[in-house]
């Protein structure tokens, strides 16, 4: 896996690392059960709910108190085998995975998760589930490697009653041969500018101020262009700035960079400009005027750089999210108030991606895959570090929506697709835009398009359906 690997599909272009399998043999698995009469290892219970909510930072009141419900996005966690492994998984699914393993498609990554919730789960509910292999794709080459997408659909029941359905897509793949990644070009440091880089090492962005006329200057020079004075001292930049101009690099490629990538010219609040990278915003969403804030990031053992993080998606982003409003069958039911809400941009949520969050989210979702907690093994599998599992992302997306829609919000459906992985040290900025709003007997139901951007691209894109019951003001 390369550091900004996305699991999006690309045209078939076999890299020869894994043996091609007859597609008919794979296709034959479609329709076969993936799990039969599975049972949850534990009934729905308050401790697991609490652990989940703590990991996700989810404080929705419905998940605590006298009659709590389980966070809907936790649904799959109740079916997980945990450390002791799966029970109830069918021969068919194991056969398919063994076949793919044997042909060299040894790695696995979850790419899509689509959940629809029929009824809330409450402590004491006994979980049973059945799953079917819905589809196996032809061989695809992605940035991660070459392999097959396997989609399963699971029905989850509580006390025999359908509680929800869960469609899950994984990529079983042979990792792309990872090229040794070059290091970024070094800064050119000499006696005139060493103080700037000493400041960077101490996480301070230092601007020179002329001792003669007081003019601020950047880049660093031993004298003032305004008055010629050789006297100067430094002032620390506040770290606030805006994008003054930017470019998107496509060609030629350089070893340390994966085009396309954006380079910005940032005008600091103090008035001087500096070249840097705009992070936390996809390369194609950087805009002139976008507010940014200083962040220091380590590139390798020797190099730390001052970078700038796009704030609240940026004004420019709001105007151009690239979303197409979806058609709504309930158009006639849209109330005036609801009409006003469609198109609304939700305030963003910034989630620092700590190692603790990644591990806590994995454990709370009972996902013990080593790539989510063991950095050494993750590296051995070609990943630069541990990375967040899809269930945690799902939980964070759910939390984002209920946070924004308030204490009465009820999640109906969460469908997400993963892209650039969430590695420790990054920050994911979740943004959302209300696409449609319809009023029905249950209340006001909104569909929200959600994007979670991190430093290397879009981590998650998805759509959430959420209902506010009548009288339940947001």
């Amino acid at each position: 896996m390369n550091s900004d690997g996305t699991a999006g599909e690309a045209a078939d272009d076999a890299d020869g690392e894994a043996r091609a399998l007859a597609y008919d043999a794979l296709k034959a698995f479609e329709g076969r059960p993936a799990a039969q009469a599975g049972t949850g290892k534990d009934p729905v219970n308050e401790p697991m709910i609490r652990h989940w909510c703590e990991a996700m930072g989810d404080t929705h009141p419905a998940y605590t108190g006298a009659d709590p419900i389980a966070p809907p996005t936790m649904m799959q966690a109740w079916t997980m085998g945990g450390l002791s492994g799966h029970e109830g998984r069918s021969d068919g699914y194991d056969e398919l995975l063994t076949l793919l393993d044997g042909a060299g498609y040894t790695s696995v990554v979850a790419t899509d998760c689509e959940q629809e919730y029929a009824r809330a789960l409450r402590p004491g509910d006994e979980i049973t589930f059945d799953a079917v292999i819905e589809s196996v794709s032809e061989r695809k080459t992605t940035r991660l490697g070459t392999g097959h997408f396997v989609t399963t659909r699971m029905d989850i029941r509580a006390g025999g009653e359908l509680a929800g359905t869960h469609r899950f897509r994984i990529l079983k793949y042979a990792p792309a041969r990872s090229k040794p990644k070059g290091k970024r070009p070094r800064p050119v440091i000499n006696r005139d500018n060493a103080g700037f880089w000493e400041g960077v090492a101490a996480h301070r962005l230092l601007i020179q101020r002329c001792g003669g006329c007081g003019e601020l200057r950047f880049p660093w020079l031993p004298g003032c262009n305004a008055c010629g004075s050789p006297e100067w001292h430094t002032v620390e930049a506040s770290g606030e700035g805006t994008v003054y101009s930017y470019v998107v690099m496509h060609h030629p490629p350089f070893p340390a960079f994966d085009p396309p990538y954006a380079v910005g010219l940032v005008e600091l609040a103090e008035g001087v400009r500096i070249i840097s990278n705009v992070i936390g915003v996809p390369y194609d969403k950087v805009r002139i005027g976008m507010p940014v804030r200083l962040d220091f990031q380590r590139m390798d053992e020797e190099l730390e750089l001052p970078l700038f993080r796009g704030l609240d998606g940026g004004a420019g982003v709001r105007a151009d999210m690239g979303f197409t409003p979806s058609e709504t069958a309930e158009a006639e039911a849209v109330s005036v108030a609801a009409e006003e809400r469609a198109g609304e941009q939700l305030p963003v949520l910034e989630v620092p991606i700590t190692r603790t969050l990644i591990v806590a989210g994995a454990i709370a979702s009972r996902d013990y895959q080593d790539v989510h907690h063991d950095a050494e093994l993750a590296k051995a599998k070609g990943s630069p570090d541990v990375f967040m599992n899809i269930l945690t992302t799902n939980g964070l997306v759910g939390r984002y929506i209920t946070d924004r829609f308030g204490p009465t919000a009820v999640l109906r459906k969460v469908a997400i697709r993963l892209g650039a992985p969430n590695y420790p040290g990054d920050t994911m900025t979740l943004s959302g835009r209300v696409e449609t709003v319809a009023t029905g007997p249950d209340g006001e139901t909104s569909t929200v398009r959600v994007v979670g951007a991190n430093g290397i691209g879009r981590h998650v894109t998805g759509t959430v359906t959420v209902t506010l019951p009548p009288g339940g003001a947001a």
Partner: protein, 388 residues
């Protein structure tokens, strides 16, 4: 000071010879050999011999020293040799240096040359990933760790701001590309001879560095170009009509950088070219309407637009329309996008051909040409005119 006053160089010297190698993607010979061939071709064109030459001028970026070119070209003693810095910004300045030497009597016949295997050898477009910690290296060093590594990327930063300021789209740059390639299509010496393009071709070409597309970027070339400068008096005895140096200027702006001038002014113009323009107009006593042909340095299309604005051919933000309406013939050899990338020296040669009346895309009655050198760097410019 010529930044503020009219200078006295105008009318003292002329370009009397031009010579070039073929323009190719792989010359198959050394840069020195290309330089020597170009110098000898220019002397032949001038009706002069190696024995007449007592001065040589080139670029600091050139790898062939004056003494080695002299040695291999049959040139003897030199009383004047000089090199001009700042990449393509040197082009017109080499001629200015030669004229200064001739006007001062330091030399009688000076050849200016530039030759390289820029396509088959060191390609500028492949970018820069490290620099020595000199003052010059440190200036570029602020951009390198962030991946701003190529000439196209340095130009694109200003180009983006230009589009933003004037509410334009990247299609605005297409008019320059189409114009250059139109002239190249009818120039047998041009690499893109017979290959005109349309605005649609431009808009469909792939991104190199947004907002620059492939067809906004000049080609890369192997080749050599030389021009011969002598006094106007001596020029009158030579075979071709002289291209008289009416005015010549260098220019650097306040807080000037080489390609990385991101920290000053509003990024929508070329202040160093403004310095050149003011000197050329002041010294020549001419105005934009007096120019018959403009040979404007075109490594990247956006800076052609900014040059037109700095010289006052049109108002800021209006150059794309100016080019589209063909209100001034520009880059009649096909420019560096269409003919060859010779660091601007092939443009000087085209300006001479227009004065002589021998361009393949001759503008009838052309009597005054404006030529400019590299943009985004300290630069230079010339106004050439027919004698009398």
């Amino acid at each position: 000071m010529s930044v503020r006053t009219r200078d006295s160089l105008g009318g003292k010297a002329a370009i009397v010879g031009i010579g070039a190698t073929e323009f190719s993607k792989d010359s198959g010979r050394s840069e020195l050999k290309l330089a020597v061939e170009a110098v000898r071709a220019a002397l032949d064109d001038a009706g002069l011999s190696a024995a007449d030459v007592d001065g040589l001028v080139t670029f600091t970026m050139d790898t062939s020293p004056e003494i080695t070119v002299a040695q291999a070209a049959g040139i003897g003693e030199l009383s004047f040799f000089s090199r001009v810095h700042y990449g393509g910004g040197a082009a017109c300045a080499t001629v200015q240096q030669a004229a200064l030497a001739v006007a001062a009597g330091v030399a009688e016949v000076v050849v200016c040359y530039r030759a390289f295997n820029e396509r088959s050898g060191r390609r500028f477009g492949s970018g820069v990933q490290r620099r020595e910690p000199s003052a010059e290296g440190a200036a570029l060093g602020w951009s390198l760790p962030f991946g701003l590594l190529t000439p196209a990327s340095w130009v694109a930063m200003a180009a983006r701001r230009y589009l933003h300021t004037y509410g334009l789209t990247p299609d605005a740059f297409g008019h320059v590309a189409v114009t250059d390639r139109k002239y190249a299509a009818t120039n047998p010496a041009a690499y893109f001879h017979g290959k005109p393009i349309t605005l649609a071709d431009h808009a469909a070409s792939r991104w190199i560095v947004e907002p620059l597309r492939l067809l906004d970027c000049c080609q890369e070339t192997d080749g050599g170009q030389a021009v011969v400068v002598t006094s106007v008096e001596r020029a009158r005895d030579l075979p071709h009509p002289p291209a008289v140096l009416t005015a010549a200027a260098q220019g650097a702006g306040r807080a000037q950088e080489q390609m990385t001038g991101f920290y000053r002014h509003d990024l929508t113009g070329l202040p160093e070219m403004s310095v050149v323009a003011r000197q050329l107009w002041r010294t020549s006593g001419l105005a934009p309407s007096d120019v018959d042909v403009g040979i404007l340095y075109d490594h990247f299309t956006p800076f052609v637009l900014m040059q037109l604005e700095e010289f006052g051919f049109c108002a800021p933000g209006e150059a794309a329309g100016f080019v589209a309406e063909e209100r001034l013939p520009i880059n009649t050899h096909g420019g560096q996008l269409g003919e060859a990338y010779l660091h601007g020296m092939n443009g000087v040669a085209e300006a001479v051909r227009q004065i002589r009346g021998t361009s393949v895309n001759q503008i009838p009655g052309a009597a005054r040409t404006l030529v400019t050198a590299g943009t985004g760097v300290p630069t230079s410019g010339l106004i050439l005119a027919s004698d009398g």
